[in-house]
Amino acid sequence: MATQERAAAIVGIHEWPKRLDPGVSALQIKAQSIGRALEDAGLAWKDVDGIYDAGDGEGGGGLGLAPYLGLKPRVIDTTSVGGTSYEFHAAHAMRDIAAGRVNVAVLSYGSKAASQRIPIGTGGPRSGGTWQTNMESPYGVTLIANYAMVAHRHMHEYGTTSEQLAEISTATRAHAMRNPDAVQGMKDLSFADIREITVADVLDSRVIADPLHLLECCMVSDGGGAVIIASKDVVKGTKKKPVWLLGSGEATAYKTNNNDITSSAAVQSAPQAFGQAGVTPAEIDIAMIYDSFTITVAVMLEDLGFCKKGEVGDYISGGRLRWDTPGGPALNTDGGGLSSNHPGMRGIFLLLESARQLRGESTSQVAGAKLAVAHGNGGLLGATHAGGTIIMAAD
């Protein structure tokens, strides 16, 4: 059982309900989400003394966001490591709170990726001359192709199949169908056929980049949200049950001349987080893992220690990842990036749904959920990426 001292907790959350929202700016999503999350916590606007921001939205970053919000925080952290920036922010808030520098930390996200029609996965390579782009741009490696190359190698080395990976898509869609905001989002984004899907549906969907099919790829949506993290002294006066932060890990991974492409930054970040928390993967009830693509989840289940490298195909068979299958873990019970929302940087939603589960508020509530792991991925799996792991516990 968890041994870590309980010094900081998530005390307020808000997720922007709309997945297509042309009537607001990304900064408005952030500011309004912060207000709702503070209300959820029973805290006031001026209680905030730490801002953690990934620089998203129109002119964000700590320097842009503080004056927009009208706040003068004592700590500003503008760590920007792609989609897992929010796990890094939570890790830094834990440290800053433990050091007595912050009492009420705020993390926020806003994005208009759907209404601005940003082609995240199939956009062309960025032009310009850097040490990386000059070696990559001539080859037309789309974002998806990076993940697809990981999937091919995983299949080659371990015999993993598309049928096995499809279990990740079917589980998250089943969870999404239980989440009214996700269902409405799929309607607003004009999904063709909004229902639970089968393994055959996934394999019958068109290939985007071999071996990944359309239904193995996350959507592009609008969205955002906010998370309030507070010190244990502040927790005493808040409205909802706190969700304690027990452990964190941060890492990067990148292509070298001989790296194993089937291993991610989680190999480094997960032992740090689980070790600090005093928790093992077998104890985890809720696994919120960045599902940009099926292969992302598959690799990270292995790297987080839920199963051995190469064994994820068997591990996830038989519906293990579904919310109502005993023995868990339950994966992405909000519907995930595959079927709920993906505005570009999904890391904050991993914290939000973890908190809902550990409060007992999820639309696919796992009975008696005590422990959750949120693991995010920023950048490109198989190439340069960051991994952030956060372990959380119910009160």
């Binding site: 199939t122 062309g124 001359g129 782009t133 070696m135 741009s137 037309g140 091919h152 980049a209």
Partner: protein, 137 residues
Amino acid sequence: MPNRIQPAFPEHDTQAFWDGAKAGELRYQTCDACSGVVFTPRSHCTECGSTKLTTRVSKGAGTVYTYSVVRQNRSPAFADLGAYAVAYIDLDEGFRMLSGITGVSDPTKEVKIGMRVQVEFEPQDSGDIPIPVFRPA
């Protein structure tokens, strides 16, 4: 001719590599201090930090480490290509390079992990720098 995106300059790390491509050479670096192989090009060794590097010319022979066949790319440079293969190639001299696979009629069937490939320099409509790609050896 293909219309791949050209590298852009000034860029100090990759200039020599692309000068090599113009000369029909696939260049890589080794470290004089620790004998490490450095790729992609830099001015320091990623193993020991030394700046004493020697630029060498690869024989251009390697093995496909992994690959994907891109079916959809909205970039104008690639939108008209049809399905095309991208891959990591492990060169025999000990460096891994991102590249494309050419010389196959159906990349979804003919490209395999572990297949042997050989570099060739593909002229481009998009500019005067030929792009090193690989075809089955």
